[in-house]
């Protein structure tokens, strides 16, 4: 019976792939660390541990090629070699990480893993030992005579004979090696008694490059030498007189080497552990660099982490959503009950029960949300490597700093941010940071600086990518935008600097003078914005020419539940995320002015463009109310006012995704269900503003499918 059933193996492989990814991540980080510290023994040991685990894991899963490669790599990962090899070892580690990654991808796809020959060549170059090896076999014979041989040799010495250890290197060009070896042996036995020889048997193909013999003889050294110097057969001879003291009883020198190294490793490891044990805690805390501390923190996290399928959490989240809807229904019913039977004592018990219920529900919801939260470090940690490679490709020297890596963000959002962030970081290095000469000329340090930071701001997580490069030339962006038709020339003049900058997000706009391999193809920034928008986030640029650029991504903490402001327009309910609301004010139509086809409202000392949501309504009839509410929302750093008829209130909404077939409009980003069972549509503010404010075409009503006709709310 075999324990290794196929399904078990498959399950195991899944675990392997996942943990291998983590190991590779660690390997990348350690490789960078090695590059920085150039040969720090502790770092090398850490790398070896990682490679070692990868080796064991892959072997256990039967991925022999990967395991063997890891094994070969492990062998080179010696602290001594790291010192002598310098940066080459770090380069090797990083290339190996890429190679492993490619192999893993192949295994995952059930394909043959790619050949690792280039990496092997790197390893071989690093060892540079083959030459030394052959040298050793020719000139430094081991002369490892067994105890019995030595006994015989001693016996010969006491009998007054001379005893020699002789090593003969067979000529590389000797055509018939086996015959040659036989000849050598015959000559040797003419010299005296061969006590021992190594190898004992001569293989038929003569595949032996040197022969060692112990011989008892009456001849002296020179005589033996001249007898054994057989042209074209013997290339090199070592003759050394043997004395009992010549060979210690210890293990052979070769074994000894290996053991010695192993021993010293083990010893250092233990010593270090002991030292750590004795260092007082506070001094450790101060001494430990942040980089050294990080992996520890993360390992702690990893151990307490339960790997759960994202779908399962999704399911729980959905149920919590249903509960919240249920709660508001209950709430409403109890309210009605209270109105109908105001004196019924049951009324209070109902409300007590429901408020208790709400509390628990609140906690439940928060706990479930927390499950989905992961530190942005999971995202940030891949950037050091990316930055290094990009910087290298561009021939620049760039330093990366990350701040706030422990900030939590919804896993779903985090995963999708990888692509846009990669883009922004690449851009920062390729376009943002100038060449070293340029930088020096501008009075900056030759090393560029890119900062990735994350922090919480109210219900948002802000992620910033900041570089200290040349900044973005707004006019150049605008010119490009005109060139590729994203905007008309005459419109440009009306744009503020900021608006010009934001044109960079239009598709086809790139400010790179030249398309490089790294970036500059003009695709990307529009992708960045569309991803961010889809995630209900915003992206904002701050750029100071000559000083640098900052991209600020403001992302919601989670996608599943939002705090929303509910309002009515023409008898219908809508919601917008509360965090985009800056303020709410009352206004009358007398206060509304028309500027440039836009309706604006003077609020204190600023002018806010208004959007009339009623223009979106199918049976649009402009009501003749003179008083209305203006909900001021922020987009980027512009403010817009939404004209609404009535405010309903603030509520937590569980966002239900709507597929494209149901609602074919980007104006709506989701829907939710209210306590009374009514459906409320959550408006997508960026799209809305664009439609209602910017575009001066008549707005077509959005057709809604029949399935929502029973619902009170529609656009």
């Amino acid at each position: 019976m075999s324990f290794f059933s196929e399904e078990r193996a498959a399950e195991l492989r899944e675990v392997f792939f996942e943990s291998a990814q983590e190991l590779l991540q660690a390997l990348n980080e350690q490789g960078l660390e090695l590059e920085k510290t150039s040969g720090d023994a502790e770092v090398v040991r850490g790398i070896r541990r990682t490679v070692h685990t990868l080796k064991g894991d892959s072997a256990a899963c039967g991925y022999r090629e990967l395991s063997e490669l890891a094994h070969e790599l492990e062998d080179v990962l010696q602290p001594e070699l790291a010192v002598s090899a310098g940066g080459a070892l770090a380069e090797l580690v990083l290339s190996a990480a890429d190679m492993f990654d490619a192999m893993l991808a192949a295994y995952r796809g059930n394909m043959q893993p790619p050949k690792a020959d280039p990496l092997r060549a790197m390893i071989a170059r690093l060892i540079k030992n083959p030459a030394a090896h052959s040298l050793r076999s020719e000139l430094t014979p081991a002369f490892e005579w067994s105890e019995y041989d030595r006994l015989a040799m001693e016996g010969a010495l006491t009998n007054g004979q001379k005893v020699y250890s002789i090593a003969l290197a067979v000529d590389r060009h000797c055509p018939m090696r086996a015959a040659g070896l036989e000849l050598i042996l015959r000559v040797l036995s003419e010299c005296g008694l061969i006590i021992s020889r190594n190898p004992e048997e001569i293989p038929a193909d003569g595949a032996v490059d040197h022969l060692e013999v112990a011989i008892a003889t009456h001849l002296d050294e020179t005589a033996i030498r001249s007898k054994c110097s057989i042209p074209t057969i013997v290339e090199n001879i070592v003759v050394s007189p043997w004395t009992p003291a010549a060979q210690a009883t210890e293990p052979s020198p070769h074994d000894h080497d290996v053991l010695g190294i192993a021993e010293s490793h083990a010893a250092t490891a233990v010593d270090v552990a002991e030292e750590l044990d004795e260092v007082p805690l506070e001094s450790m805390a101060t001494a430990a660099e942040p980089s050294a501390k990080k992996p520890r923190v993360e390992f702690v996290g990893a151990e307490n982490t339960l790997r759960v399928d994202a779908e399962r959490i999704e399911a729980v989240m959905n149920l919590v959503g249903e509960l919240i809807i249920g709660k508001s229904m209950l709430h409403q019913t109890i309210n009605e009950f209270g109105q109908r039977f105001p004196k019924d004592p049951l009324k209070h018990r109902f409300s007590d029960a429901i408020s208790k219920q709400s509390q628990v529900l609140n906690l439940l919801q928060r706990s479930v949300m927390k499950i989905r939260m992961v530190p942005v470090d999971q995202l940030f940690r891949r950037f050091p490597r990316l930055l290094r490679d990009t910087a290298k490709a561009c021939g620049k020297d760039v330093q990366l700093v990350t701040v706030g890596a422990d900030t939590d963000l919804d896993k779903g959002i985090l995963d999708q941010l990888a692509e846009p962030l990669t883009h922004l970081v690449r851009n920062a290095v390729d376009h943002g940071i100038e060449s070293a000469e340029e930088r020096v000329k501008a009075g900056k340090s030759p090393q560029g600086f890119v900062k990735l930071s994350a922090y919480h701001q109210a219900n948002h997580v802000v992620i910033e990518i900041n570089d200290d490069g040349r900044g973005i030339d707004a006019d150049k962006v605008a010119a490009k935008a005109v060139e590729c038709g994203a905007i008309k020339n005459e419109e440009v003049t009306r744009l503020t600097e900021q608006q010009k900058l934001e044109l960079i997000f239009e598709s086809g706009v790139s400010t790179a003078d030249e398309v490089t391999e790294v970036s500059g193809r003009g695709v990307g920034m529009d992708v960045v914005r569309s991803v961010i928008t889809r995630l209900k986030g915003t992206v904002h640029i701050v750029s100071v020419p000559g000083r640098g650029t900052t991209f600020r991504l403001t992302m919601p903490l989670t996608l599943a539940i939002i705090k929303a402001l509910l309002f009515e327009v023409g008898d219908q309910h809508y919601a917008i995320p509360l965090n985009s609301v800056v303020e709410i004010t009352r206004a009358t139509f007398d206060q509304v002015h028309r500027v440039d086809n836009c309706e604006v409202l003077q609020m204190r000392d600023e002018v806010v463009t208004l959007a009339r949501l009623s223009r979106l309504m199918p049976e649009a009839h402009e009501r003749s109310i003179t008083k209305f509410f203006v909900v001021v929302v922020r987009m980027g750093d512009k403010k817009f006012g939404l004209i609404v008829d009535r405010l309903v209130g603030e509520e937590e909404l569980v966002i239900k995704a709507m597929d494209d077939q149901l609602v074919a409009t980007e104006l709506v980003s989701g829907a939710s269900i209210l306590g009374d069972g009514a459906v409320v549509l959550i408006l997508n503010i960026p799209a809305l503003v664009e439609r209602v404010v910017y575009v001066h075409l008549p707005i077509r009503p959005v057709p809604l499918p029949a399935s929502t006709t029973g619902v009170r709310v529609a656009i």
Binding site: R8, L12, V15, G56, G62, S67, A266
Partner: protein, 362 residues
């Protein structure tokens, strides 16, 4: 039904934390009560989980296996099985661990097609054995800087002791050999089932902690009094009379009883070459290797000893010999060293000195 053995698996590889429980839990009698990714977590979890046995990886971040082991043994001594990497360095660390009180070790699987079942079986057996074992608290061996006596060739050993041992061997041998004096008059040859690369380290450790000389055997090593030769992994060991002295010969023959080295090979050879001067000892271990060889020694006039059940980690090999009637004496681990010392010292002069007779012949 008996209560399952509760096991805590400590390993920094997530894969191993999954694989090891799968390997050992197919036996209903073992239950993995928890896993830990490093020593610190292991130490935190031990009081809560109350495992019976721990499997411990030595190569871990934060607190490595060695330190963990030291703390386990200090705070809550538990039978611990080292799950070790198959490498020279792994061997070194493994023996350090054994000297710190780990009960036994297995090498990590490194090729699923051939080894998985074998290793799983080995691990299961060792865990079960460990759960039953009373933890023999050996004093942490001090590396004694002792002058090893010069090799006394020409003086043949009074007796040649062939020891076959497997699971539980490292500890048991440490216990026995450390009690033998440097002037032990016999030669001891040991077959310990252990992978290649581990035996050399094992011998080295023993040599550092025992008065008697211990070395990994090489072909041509002399059988002289006061020395212990341990057969290297992946080789068979035999003895041979040579004109100047008796020597050991290592061969690469087929596996015997699934083992190389095999105790049967050693014992048969010792029986045939040394007859009455042979002593066979079969100690703790799984399987039956050595049982037949012990019979050969007995038939050729030698003394045969089986280790008593209560001191065995696994009683398999001694029992096989006893059941076949091949063991003349059954002796506890505690009494073994004394017995060997007494047996080898007895009749010292009444035996023909084979090597002495031929030494002058050349």
């Amino acid at each position: 039904m008996r209560k399952p053995v509760r096991v805590l698996v400590v390993d920094d590889s997530a894969l191993m934390r999954k694989l090891i429980p799968q390997m050992i839990e197919r036996e209903g009698s073992i239950q993995v009560v928890g896993t830990a990714m490093d020593g610190e977590f292991a130490l935190e979890k031990i009081p809560d989980l109350k495992p019976d046995v721990i499997t411990l990886d030595l190569d871990m971040p934060r607190m490595d296996g060695m330190e963990t082991l030291r703390k386990i043994m200090r705070k809550h001594p538990l039978p611990t099985i080292v799950v070790s990497a198959h490498s020279t360095e792994g061997a070194s660390a493994t023996f350090k661990a054994l000297s710190l009180g780990a009960l036994d070790f297995v090498t990590k699987p490194h090729d699923p097609t051939t080894h998985m079942d074998e290793i799983a079986g080995e691990l299961v057996a060792k865990i079960k054995a460990a759960a039953k074992s009373q933890l023999v608290q050996l004093p942490e061996p001090q590396a004694k800087k002792k002058p090893k006596p010069a090799m006394k060739h020409g003086v043949p050993p009074t007796k040649v002791v062939a020891i076959g041992v497997s699971t539980g061997g490292p500890q048991a041998l440490q216990y026995v050999l450390s009690q033998l004096s440097a002037d032990f008059p016999g030669t001891i040859l040991i077959v310990q089932h252990m992978p290649e690369g581990f035996t050399g380290m094992f011998a080295k450790r023993l040599d550092e902690t025992c008065a008697i000389e211990v070395k990994e055997a090489r072909s041509g090593d002399l059988l002289v009094p006061g020395r212990v030769l341990i057969c290297p992994g992946n080789r068979h060991i035999k003895v041979k009379h040579m004109p100047l002295s008796d020597v050991v010969v290592l061969t690469e023959g087929e596996k015997v009883n699934g083992h190389r080295p095999s105790a049967d090979v050693l014992m048969n050879s010792v029986a045939h070459e040394f007859g009455e001067r042979a002593i066979g000892v079969l100690m703790t271990g799984m399987g039956e290797d050595g049982a037949e060889g012990l019979g050969t020694i007995k038939n050729c006039g030698g003394l045969t000893i089986a280790q008593a059940e209560e001191s065995c980690v696994v009683y398999g090999m001694p029992r096989a010999a006893i059941e076949r009637g091949h063991a003349v004496r059954v002796i506890t681990l505690e009494a073994l060293a004394n017995t060997l010392q007494a047996q080898c010292s007895a009749n010292r002069s009444s035996r023909p000195m084979l090597a002495e007779a031929t030494a002058t012949g050349d």
